[in-house]
């Protein structure tokens, strides 16, 4: 065993784009059967290294120097034709976006076995048999027939596993997994991670796992390489890296996973009238029917309030309606029913009918700063518009205010003349925020503002939000799918599932059991920064996680019914769940009483400790 040379050896790898180095002097080895993780923020060169292992450099880039050996093949010495033999056969690749990797116009099976046929490894029939076995190993439902479907007929998590099957069909020596679960929801991520790991273990696959998420990597990898700006910072076995990070940058990364609380201590006088009050809100898309309900109802009966100078976190997985909620409040989508009141005054359904003062007081900051800033406008132009529009500012005063705004979001004045394409992701998000601040709003709707950013950049944006709140007394509605972010910044939380608010309450709602079964699932699904977390997941939770949101469930009285492990048949699927006040100060929509929930969630026989096991995160 010891004498066996490593399967993959990368030595002194340099990749350049023109004169700019992208990867600098990177060396590592991967032993047969080992899973090595490359971790770093975007732009750290991790994907570039993964691609270099296949002898590929993206357009404009070149592998400038270094040795890449896979098995006994020297990858850099191969001709174009020989590289085609290598790719998909010796080294295969699983990309981040499965949806973009499958051809939507063809059925899944021919796409999965294509690699085996191109390399003439087996007959079509054998390839199909093998693919079905792989589908079963990857815990895909109905493995015998799933290949006959089209890519859009399976869920995102399933498609990602099918992509892995495509990569594994040729029994490659090395599989490169490039952020394979980044685009998935937390509950979906669990099953995909488990399937990946089981396959990797059973087949003793050698893998390179590229990710920015340390918690995910902790579940998958034997060793971790930490990258920054294209250079290796630290290489260590997973456990050692988590317990005793040697490099300061690694410590930074670890710290960003467990964000510090950015909440001001409660100093409210009891029950001030809420700044924004939403009651009985129903909204959706499509033409309305006779009852005034839209064809596709996205939000059902939303009741929630935001107090001035406080932060409400809205949590939910993709498709739960959280962005729709922000757009309804901003007046971009007219609600079908219900009311939105700002300081007790009802708001018109659409922005065009609201007064300019009402518009000024609610600003929206959208997720992706890339498309939220007009690429044809300079930073100054983008910031000046709300100043002119709401405050009729001109000339010198306007210019000074733009400078002040840039200063407020910690951007240098020199950026005023820049265009969005000249800014980094974090800078763009700051400009995006500054544009909302220009209106001097009372409430900012933040729709996934940190989701597109790396953890360290995202943490800086959260710090900025907290600082602005302290200084300017702005309230936020903070929409996110990321629990730890919400926990760090919010005073109160609302958990949305398939368009229903299943739980609302103070920040403690996320810390104390009992909680709504969905909240419990969501919290338990966030990967923890310790090895072995993935193995410790209970069977009940796995079953719940595997469900996935679908809209026909939303028509049930309780949207969570079909996934819930504690459902009472004959009750939950017939009667709408009542709103229940819990002792911890939260309200949930559930038929189960407080004691029943507590018993179900802490498990029988355990000490009735209401504190869940993830306290280290907060």
């Amino acid at each position: 065993m010891l004498a066996e040379p490593p399967l993959v050896e990368v030595d002194g790898l340099h990749v350049v784009s023109g004169d700019t180095p992208i990867v600098r002097d990177v060396s590592f080895t991967i032993a047969r059967g080992e899973v090595l993780a490359l971790i770093g923020e975007s732009g750290s060169g991790k994907t570039t290294i993964g691609l270099a292992l296949m002898g590929y450099a993206r357009r404009g880039c070149q592998i400038a120097d270094g040795r890449i050996r896979v098995g006994n093949i020297d990858v850099r010495s191969l001709s174009h034709a020989k590289l085609s033999d290598l790719r998909g056969r010796t080294v295969s690749y699983v990309a981040q976006s499965a949806a973009a990797s499958f051809n939507p116009a063809r059925r899944i099976m021919p796409q999965v076995i294509e690699g085996a046929l191109i390399h003439r490894l087996m007959s079509r029939a054998d390839a199909k048999t093998k693919a079905r076995a792989l589908f079963a190993d990857l815990a895909l439902p109905d493995p015998d027939n799933i290949g006959d479907r089209f890519p859009y007929q399976v869920s995102g998590g399933q498609l990602q596993r099918l992509l892995a099957a495509m990569a594994l069909i040729t029994d490659p020596d090395l599989v490169i997994l490039d952020e394979p679960t980044t685009a998935l929801d937390v509950t979906t991520q669990i099953e995909v991670l488990r399937a990946f790991r089981q396959v990797v273990r059973e087949r003793r696959t050698t893998a390179l796992y590229v990710s920015h998420d340390l918690s995910v990597v902790a579940q998958m990898a034997d060793r971790i390489v930490v990258l920054r700006d294209g250079a290796v910072q630290e290489t260590a076995p997973t456990q050692q890296l988590l317990d005793a990070p040697a490099h300061p940058y690694t410590r930074n990364l670890l710290a960003a996973v467990a964000p510090v609380a950015r909440v001001a201590e409660p100093q409210h006088t009891p029950a001030p009238p809420p700044l924004l009050r939403i009651s009985g809100l129903v909204a959706g898309y499509g033409p309305t029917d006779a009852r005034g309900l839209p064809e596709i109802t996205v939000l059902r009966d939303i009741d929630v309030g935001i107090e001035s100078d406080s932060v409400l976190g809205v949590i939910g997985e993709s498709g739960c309606g959280k962005s729709t909620l922000a757009q309804v409040i901003a007046g971009l989508i007219a609600p079908a029913r219900g009311s939105i009141e700002l300081d007790g005054v009802p708001l018109s359904p659409l922005a065009a009918q609201r007064t300019r003062e009402q518009l000024r007081r609610i600003q929206i900051v959208l997720q992706s700063a890339d498309v939220a800033l007009n690429p044809a406008h300079s930073v100054e132009h983008s910031l000046a518009r709300p100043l002119r529009f709401y405050h009729a500012m001109r000339g010198e005063a306007l210019r000074r205010r733009v400078v002040a705004l840039l200063d407020m979001v910690h951007l240098p004045t020199a950026l005023a003349g820049c265009y969005p394409r000249e800014l980094s992701g974090g800078q763009k998000q700051r400009v995006n925020l500054a544009r909302a601040l220009a209106a001097e709003p009372s409430l900012i709707l933040c729709d996934e503002v940190t989701s597109a950013l790396d953890s360290i950049v995202g943490a800086a944006i959260l710090d900025l939000l907290a600082e602005l709140r302290r200084e300017l007394g702005i309230a936020y509605m903070f929409i996110s799918h990321d629990l730890s972010t919400v926990r760090a910044i919010c005073d109160s939380v609302a958990i949305l599932y398939a368009g229903q608010l299943v739980e609302t309450g103070g920040r403690n709602a996320l810390r104390q059991r009992p909680m709504h079964p969905y909240t419990d699932l969501l919290i338990a699904s966030v990967p923890e920064l310790r090895t072995g977390w993935l193995d410790g997941i209970s069977a009940t939770q796995l079953k719940e996680a595997a469900g996935g949101v679908s809209w026909h469930m939303a028509a049930q009285p309780c949207a969570f019914f079909s996934r819930c492990a504690h459902r009472i048949s004959g009750v939950c699927d017939i009667e709408a769940p009542p709103l229940r006040e819990l002792a911890k100060g939260a309200r949930i929509r559930c038929h189960l009483g407080e004691d029943e929930l507590l018993r179900a969630q802490t498990g029988a026989g355990q000490a009735p400790s209401a504190e869940p096991q993830y306290a280290h995160l907060s």
Binding site: A330, G331, L332, A351, L359, N374, R421
Partner: protein, 278 residues
Amino acid sequence: MSDATLQRRASNRRTGIVALSVVGFWVAIAASGPFVAPHAEGNVVSSDVFAPISTAFPLGTDYLGRDMLSRVLFGARDTIGVALLATLLACFVGGTLALCAAARGGWTDAVLSRAMDALISVPSLLFGLVVIAALGSSIPVLVGTAAVIYTPGAYRTARALAVNIAAMDFIRVARARGERTTFIMADEILPNMLLPLLTDFGLRFIYVVLLLSGLSFLGLGVQPPQADWGSLVRENIEGLAYGAPAVIIPAIAIATLTISVNLLIDSLSSRRQGADAR
């Protein structure tokens, strides 16, 4: 940046400069042609028809013995002037309607788009023939006809661009800010589609030149003794047998103008892509 990219960029730049100077040359001729022409447009100055190039007649003479240089110089105004005016009109009307359709959506979009579809379904040359047969051939009628024929195309292109931009988040932010539709059209959407729109303008300009030349070739375009380049080709077509410059020169003029406009647009748009790739 690699050498290959730099080289590509430099050669792209050279093409752009050459194309720009050819287009500039023809525009200058269109503006100044009548003033620098040695003879009047309709004057028969030689008894020698289809004369070859000589010092007296640098581009030879046509089928009636008129000075070809003067005819081409005068023709430039009719060709480029009419085409430019018609294209500007088509792109302005089409673009404005498209922005309106994209920014308002719903009924406005549906009605405008169907109306344009109806217009686009009429064959363009046939439409031109009918209009000219009814109204007679004059410069305003030609400009108007060409503009109407090419408005739906301009509308379609501009709408496709504008609809994509109107779905972007920054438009959503502008709407949430309470901006009026006209502001969203002019300040938020338009600057983002200017370059592709310019490309479309150039392309459409070429179509119009070709359409007008086609109409003239059929004898329905600019009427004698005035002549655009298309009519020059037609009236001197017999000269082809004698290898007379009279038929080749206007053809070359049409070709150089359309090709250089095309190249100019290509170099503009690839330079823009280069800027985006940074």
